[in-house]
């Protein structure tokens, strides 16, 4: 395991399989407009850069952290995507989030010092590890960073609340439509096509996220294709009529 660019005040995380010190910095990161660094002065960005203990590659299916692991760092996704999932004692699982580059993982660990869920890479990915104590200290002197941090956490709350509305009040069809439109938005924000993309999740993972069964998700894809709103080719999705998709959601049944 390579040493960080600073003496490592915080031990490196145990679950990381492939470690690699990437020659990259916040000020050249393609995610700097979405990440905690947004709006920071160059000097502030340099400081943030310095506390990053490691930039790490995570292989597909590998876990970034597990439920119960000691929380010391937040992870910023540099590249790739992750699912976070909650495991119930009885073996049931619920995917609670699907996270793309620029987003922050691990916020659920702050409250009691241990991660509540696990984060699994959906593809080969790269993350920056941000020791929370140092981040907090740095935020002390950088109001903008502090605000970014608060916002990141609060945004998580809003996202989770939206999911509660989805899971509690919406039909299967509406859930899938919302899911696809949400993905479209997020790809768009990252400079990709909002109408054509390749899913990184299996049908089962989508189903878990949406509180459905995989067969239902599969049927819905077929149905939405039949009525001309989608073109589906395995995980390759093309939104043929986003407007109609949106109407599908607004509809009060």
């Amino acid at each position: 395991m390579l040493a960080g660019r600073l003496p490592p005040a915080v031990p490196a995380t145990p679950n990381v399989v492939s470690i690699h010190e990437l020659k990259a910095h916040c000020n050249s990161c393609s995610m700097r407009e979405l990440c905690l660094s947004v709006g920071l002065e160059p000097e502030a960005m340099r400081q943030l850069d310095e506390i990053i203990t490691s930039r790490t590659r995570i292989k597909k299916r590998d876990r970034l952290y597990r439920p119960g692991d000691r929380f010391t760092v937040l992870y910023a996704i540099r590249l790739g995507s992750f699912k976070t999932q909650l495991l119930a004692e009885d073996g049931r699982e619920q995917i609670t989030g699907y996270h793309m580059a620029g987003e922050i993982l691990g916020l659920d660990g702050i409250s009691d010092g241990h991660y509540a869920c696990q984060a699994v890479a959906l593809e080969d990915s790269e993350v920056c590890a941000l020791p929370f104590n140092q981040l907090d200290e740095l935020a002390h002197d950088l109001p903008r960073l502090r605000r970014n941090l608060y916002r990141a956490i609060s945004k998580d709350i809003c996202r989770d609340q939206d999911m509660m509305l989805l899971l509690g009040s919406r039909s299967a069809e509406e859930r899938l439509a919302l899911f696809l439109l949400n993905l479209a938005d997020r790809y768009h924000a990252r400079g990709y096509s909002s109408s054509e993309f390749v899913l990184r999740m299996t049908r089962e993972e989508i189903a878990s996220y949406l509180g459905l069964k995989l067969e239902t998700v599969s049927r819905l894809f077929s149905h939405l294709q039949e009525i001309g709103l989608l073109q589906v080719q395995g995980r390759a999705i093309k939104l043929l009529d986003p407007t109609a998709l949106k109407q599908l959601i607004g509809h009060v049944r």
Copy 2:
């Protein structure tokens, strides 16, 4: 509207119906062991006390804030209870939380400066208004307060994730059982009986929270009473066999 004990740097909230300056302080508040003030030095507690712009009474059914209201303050519940609910554009509603004394409301407003949901008093209640900017400044100098604030937010995330698991993966019966046991825990933490309490929500509100319909909730209460786990008298609930209730949840179907 009465002036705060300090010159009001932040305008008082607009939605408050009955305003009342209560003669109370953090160091004498019965919630000081659950609130942001937990573990603070007396002097720190005094400082926290000073930024509270108002201590306000909210009548049953009145709204503390509405979706879209400008976010300036967090609310700490001194007394009573609230529901928070998300309103969809199409009129659908989802209750996203049920909040008791000592808990913090309004965290969802940080991210974009406006509250995302609305908070409605379930009974006559009292809250402390904490101007977020001042709270943040104070947290600057008080690590313990800062930690408490982070924790409060992170705990919200964990709670929401648990709800996602409940809504996405659990049967109606399990949902109600979890709901009742969760209430029991929280009453217990506040010094009340964990086996006997009076619900503050209607059947419809419980149903909305649990992603069900009110008739289903009503039937479930009857059923749980029939099999001897509960005694139900309208909103008065007695848990006759908490252990069996817990087993109900662990059961993999």
